[in-house]
Symmetry: C2
Subunit: 269 residues, 2 copies
């Protein structure tokens, strides 16, 4: 069983609550980690950081940078600048990790888009390193290849990360995105110290909605505990973020959501 | 451009029409190949074969066998027997190919389910070989890992096929299922003569529905022509099946569907 002290509550698991509401609820439920999103932080990162620290919480990661591929050079540059700001926000939050969701191809050309991701990371990695922020490439499930991420497998994300220093660029592994992969245990072992984060949720059958229908741990078919043990075997001992996008869950009171999350975490992670 | 003579019309592309209606429409539209489904064939394979031959059509493949994983040995045996019947039906249709969609895990245990697929193929391959029918393992898109197929990548399907003789077991590559794969061109080249079939459709953005929302070639983001050229480079010169599950398409008259398919095939495959 994973220690409850490792549970990190990703803000979007209570998608309709404000950051302050989530922070307060985490404090009430004895949760020690939180994973905020930029839309709640960007306006005033210092205030967000203070809010979180005052509640005694640590920040496991900031979601999210990335989205590098774009048709024009000017637009790609604009996105790089936005990622530089994301790094500053992560530093203000005193988190060591910025999650990168890397974006779809602007047209049919996957190869070029994948190169744009590498170029984008290359353009921000020095600023990240100087800011004490690591970059975590998150491979998304291949069903998001057309609209969210051209990075879709652990092997691919690892090969990208390996273009950079192990202290600066690694992987964010979310069971929802990687569970189907026939090579996943082999890949987790090979990724080793490059595993910068581990996220949990579940895959419900039938899937109510692929984006908004993630399940609570234990409600679906993912071998969550086996995956958790594999990332630990590979060397990861950090926080475990619970990130669940689910409209039905969001309709519940924030305290109900956190109660459900801590219970499922203890039973199924 | 692919020769129109290579177009095979998968019966489910006109999902609401009977096999006879599809056969007659193919004849009117100068289509030379058809891909029937078992539900239209099993009752009387000889009659179905005669219907198709009388229209001058050839059968590119029979959809579908597989679905091997199950909880009990008795149920797995029942499915093997059903696959043996599917082989007989394929032989009656004078097609050289039975498509295998291999089924989900009956529980969370993917490794065991994947072994059940291999065991299932092993249990039917001799009968297939003796019947002049090849078995085509179709890797499905990973979004179907929980409810349709534990075989989800080309590399995985190839490794399974390589457990058997190249004349008996190979792969069915459908662009909808494989386009996202960062290794796909490498994998196509390695699969080589084990490519037994090539299916086309498109991935629309945003996806209206993952099962029932496949697009007509050219309406989505898949690099169809590049994939077609890659499978040809690898040695495949057989029919190209158009297999599109789409409720909006199905609502149209059969002749409209076939007209749309032949036009899109000529423009985008």
């Amino acid at each position: 069983m994973a220690e409850l002290s490792r549970l990190s509550f990703n803000q979007m698991t209570a998608g309709k609550a404000t950051l302050a509401e989530v922070v307060n609820a985490c404090e009430r439920h004895g949760i020690e980690w939180i994973g905020p999103w930029r839309h709640s932080v960007s306006d005033d990162p210092t205030a967000a950081s203070k809010l979180i620290r005052n509640a005694g919480l640590k920040v496991s990661s900031l979601c999210r940078g990335g989205m590098f591929p774009a048709t024009t050079k000017a637009e790609r540059q604009r996105r790089i600048e936005d990622n530089l700001r994301a790094i500053d926000e992560a530093a203000a939050l005193e988190t060591s990790l910025l999650v990168l969701v890397n974006g779809p191809a602007p047209d049919r050309d996957l190869d070029t888009a994948r190169q744009m991701v590498l170029d984008g990371i290359g353009a921000i990695v020095d600023h990240a390193a100087a800011s004490g922020v690591r970059l975590g490439i998150e491979p998304l499930h291949p069903m998001f290849a057309a609209d969210r991420s051209v990075v879709v497998t652990t092997a691919q994300a690892r090969a990208m990360a390996e273009q950079f220093h192990i202290e600066n660029v690694g992987l964010v592994l979310d069971v929802y995105h990687i569970w189907w992969d026939p090579q996943i245990y082999h890949e987790i072992a090979k990724t080793g110290e490059r595993i910068f984060a581990f996220h949990v949720s579940d895959w419900i059958v039938p899937a109510p909605d692929f984006l908004m229908g993630r399940g609570m741990m234990g409600d679906g078919v993912i071998e969550i505990r086996r995956l958790r043990e594999a990332v630990e075997q590979a060397g990861y001992q950090g926080p475990i973020e619970v990130e669940i996008f689910n409209e039905t869950l969001w309709a519940q009171p924030t305290d109900t959501i956190l109660g459900h999350v801590t219970e499922s975490f203890q039973n199924f992670v």
